[in-house]
């Protein structure tokens, strides 16, 4: 093992910033991160042992105890639950002969749930040793179980299991453009760098991750910072449940995205770029490396790009299963090889980002738009959309609709139009912007996709009338409790309390004061949390409580208070061990 780790560290120039990549190598080879490996890496990378331990414990895809040779994770996003995730996972576990979360006694296979893997249009989805598998049914599960039990190498599994579809259903301004091969770079230099920045400003382009900061300003501020080195980062840590458009853009429009990064780098004066790819998209890694290499060969990356006297290159960094790393400062921490804990802001990344140098972090879709704006000009883009939201938005539509997939719409499009296009009927409501966004009811479908109305990073989940809103809230509150980074108390403790309180109500133990307590808790988490995760973690409860108060009330029993756990059941062990079953050995759940 010592040689393996030494070589691995050497390949990564003994850089502590590459810690995630190194640990990924160790995890793949030894199925966990052995203690000795941590000791050795601490020495080789010259960082504290505890820092490595911290990183290992922080990311879901690193383990201190060995996983199976086949480590299978099944997505437990709401869209997966809607296709019967629970039943299928139980079936899977039974067929494999293990319990969910555990490694089988022979060490061959392990199975667990995981957060949304970005395949909501082809649920039930999962990962085998990090590689995406889709459309799981009982028969496909049988096939996997057979492969596992035969210990068939992954390369020999049917390719069909790993088939990932683009499902682009409605194209508009951006998706109608061909991938660029230098056109945007040439146009940028022909027009002039600052003139191109003006075009980006004229286009009104705002960040496509959801927050909607004006892209041109970000680049301008980054450019104006006094520094020798600056960085461009593409945020492809698409973790918001229900979002999968960046996966499709990187699969089919990667050239344009990389070119958008190159244009941005030229404007702000960066020579190094990173694309932070979420670990769940490992299946795209080799393809993207290939495209980067092809672009280097075509002098679209590297030294003196297209003879414009400008150097720039892009490195792919893989995440390791942490939703919080989609937050830009947490992403930067992760890029530096640390746990993804959001930084205090200000200073913003444009002032002090990667390695404390000015850094512009933009969404995949933003770079795609920027590349095309560089070619066609700002007006071309600004002609579409609303006064405050220019251009188009690419949506990932999933849930109860006939045609789940990728849809591109001009900003200002109504929810009803979208629902008609995707073939949704008998609709109860739509979750716009994922769990951290808003749930809208079926009397609000005239509302519009726009920053000034319904802002979204692209997640659009449709629910029909057969769904129970509380099941949705239940799933989302568990998601946030799992993904809280643990740094600040309001979020770490608050999301867990919120999960427990929602469980209590959903399981029918709720009573009069519980809704008030729930609301107070939501306000506390929202107002006191350190970053966007905590500030939005209560949204599923708040937005549905506002719209369906009677539904929550109907879950409450007409008593003043009921414990949140089964009192009598919690005496079971003591009863059994004391061999008692008399009246005093029992407790009523509610006092008579």
């Amino acid at each position: 093992m010592q040689n393996f780790i030494k070589n691995l560290a050497q390949e990564n120039d003994f850089q502590a910033t590459r810690l995630l990549k190194i640990l990924r190598g160790v995890q793949t080879k030894y199925l966990h991160i052995p203690k000795d490996a941590i000791e050795q890496l601490a020495e080789l990378l010259n960082i504290p042992r505890t820092q490595i331990q911290n990183v290992v414990e922080f990311y879901s895809f690193f383990h201190l105890q060995p996983r199976g040779q086949y480590d299978i994770l099944i997505s437990s996003s709401i869209t997966d639950l809607m296709v019967g995730q629970e039943e299928l996972v139980n079936y899977f576990a039974e067929k494999l002969g293990l319990k969910i979360g555990e490694v089988r006694a022979d060490g061959v296979v392990s199975l667990n749930n995981t957060s949304c893997t970005g395949m909501c249009d082809q649920s039930l989805a999962g990962l085998v040793n990090g590689y995406a598998i889709t459309k799981l049914t009982k028969s496909r599960i049988d096939e996997i179980v057979e492969n596992v039990n035969k210990q068939l190498p992954l390369e020999q599994w049917s390719r069909d299991l790993f088939d990932v579809q683009d499902n682009i259903i409605k194209s508009d301004l951006l998706l109608n453009q061909k991938p660029t091969q230098g056109e945007a770079i040439n146009a940028t230099f022909a027009r002039g760098l600052m003139e191109t920045l003006n075009e980006v400003e004229k286009s009104g382009l705002r960040g496509r991750g959801g927050a909607g900061y004006t892209t041109a300003w970000k680049w301008k501020f980054c450019h104006e910072e006094n520094a020798i080195q600056r960085y461009i980062v593409c945020n492809a840590d698409e973790g918001e449940p229900g979002t999968f458009k960046d996966r499709v853009l990187l699969n089919s429009y990667a050239d344009s995205v990389f070119e958008g990064m190159t244009v941005a780098a030229a404007i702000i004066g960066a020579t190094q770029g990173f694309i932070y790819l979420r670990g769940e998209y490992l299946h795209l890694y080799e393809k993207l490396e290939g495209i980067l290499q092809a672009r280097r060969n075509a002098n679209l990356l590297g030294k003196n790009i297209l003879q414009h006297g400008f150097d720039f290159d892009i490195e792919i960094c893989l995440g390791a299963g942490a939703y919080i790393c989609g937050e830009e400062s947490a992403l930067i921490e992760s890029l530096e090889g640390k746990a993804g804990i959001p930084r205090n802001r200000p200073p913003y990344p444009v002032v002090s980002g990667y390695l404390n140098k000015p850094t512009s972090v933009n969404n995949v879709e933003t770079f795609l738009a920027a590349a095309n704006i560089a070619i066609h000009g700002g007006e071309w883009f600004a002609n579409l959309g609303t006064a405050k939201s220019k251009g188009t938005k690419i949506l990932s539509i999933s849930g109860d609709c006939a045609k789940a997939g990728i849809y591109e719409y001009p900003f200002g499009t109504t929810i009803q139009t979208i629902l008609n296009d995707c073939g949704a009927s008998d609709v109860l409501g739509v979750q716009v912007g994922g769990p951290s966004g808003t749930f809208i009811a079926n009397d609000e479908f005239e509302r519009k996709i726009a920053f000034e109305d319904l802002a979204t990073g692209g997640s659009f989940i449709v629910f029909n009338n057969s769904r129970n809103i509380l099941d949705i809230v239940h799933n989302f509150s568990h998601f946030f409790a799992h993904e809280s980074c643990g740094f600040c108390t309001p979020c770490r403790v608050g999301t867990s309390l919120l999960k427990k309180q929602v469980d209590k109500i959903v399981e029918g133990h709720g009573s009069a004061g519980d809704i008030v307590a729930l609301e107070e808790l939501c306000q506390l988490i929202k107002n006191y949390s350190h970053c966007g995760l905590g500030q939005t973690a209560a949204n599923p409860v708040l937005t549905t409580l506002e719209r369906y108060p009677e539904l929550y009330q109907s879950m409450l029993k007409k008593i003043s208070y009921e414990p949140g756990f089964d009192l009598d059941k919690s005496l079971e062990t003591a009863r059994r061990m004391a061999h008692r079953d008399d009246a005093h050995a029992h407790l009523a759940q509610v006092e008579d």
Binding site: L567, S570, L571, A574, R580, A585
Partner: protein, 181 residues
């Protein structure tokens, strides 16, 4: 403060009586207190059950067994205002450290397998309350109106809280009384 004395009941559930000891640290202020307060069920009075018209119930300790549940319910039923006093009542505290170990292992260690145990057996008698598999904070079992933090809350905390209530306004504890750093 009105003339009619306010009835206060107190109890220690899964606690160490440390909060009660801290309460007694009111010292000479106790004399002033009893001018306005009459103690009902409490280890201080040895009254066994709450009167139906208690005003304030002070609960020390968490809920670890079936008897704790019954006592807590009696307090809730008979006290207008119920207060969780100290870390164990609020969070489970020290007794809740057993929550990481299964109850079966706890009982076996204490009564069967522990060093020096003679006549090893799990106690079994209808008079003995059974243990819950986990120790719970009291607000998970009944509705609690106020929480007094501290391990234990200082006498000044008790004084400020009770005098606020007796004066008829919402109790508020200034930062100096509840910071521990």
């Amino acid at each position: 403060m009105t003339n009619k004395k306010v009835k206060v009941a107190t109890v220690s559930l899964a606690g160490c009586f440390g909060c009660h000891m801290s309460f007694l640290d009111l010292d000479e202020r106790l004399v002033e207190l009893v001018e306005h307060v009459q103690f009902d069920r409490s280890p201080l009075t040895d009254i066994e059950h709450c009167s139906p018209d208690c005003d304030i119930g002070l609960i020390e300790g968490g809920v670890c067994n079936s008897e704790n549940v019954h006592v807590l319910r009696e307090f809730r039923k008979n006290c207008k205002t119920l207060v969780a006093v100290g870390a164990c009542a609020i969070n489970g505290g020290l007794p809740a450290m057993r929550n990481h170990i299964s109850l079966e292992d706890c009982l076996n260690e204490a009564y069967r397998d522990g060093i020096g145990v003679e006549n090893a057996q799990i106690p079994s008698d209808v008079e003995l309350p059974l243990l819950l598999d986990k120790v719970h904070p009291i607000h998970e079992v009944v509705k609690i109106d106020y929480f007094l933090p501290g391990c234990p809350p200082s006498a000044d905390v008790f004084w400020k809280f009770l005098t606020d209530l007796l004066a008829g306004h919402e109790p508020s504890l200034p930062y100096e009384l509840v910071h521990f750093d």
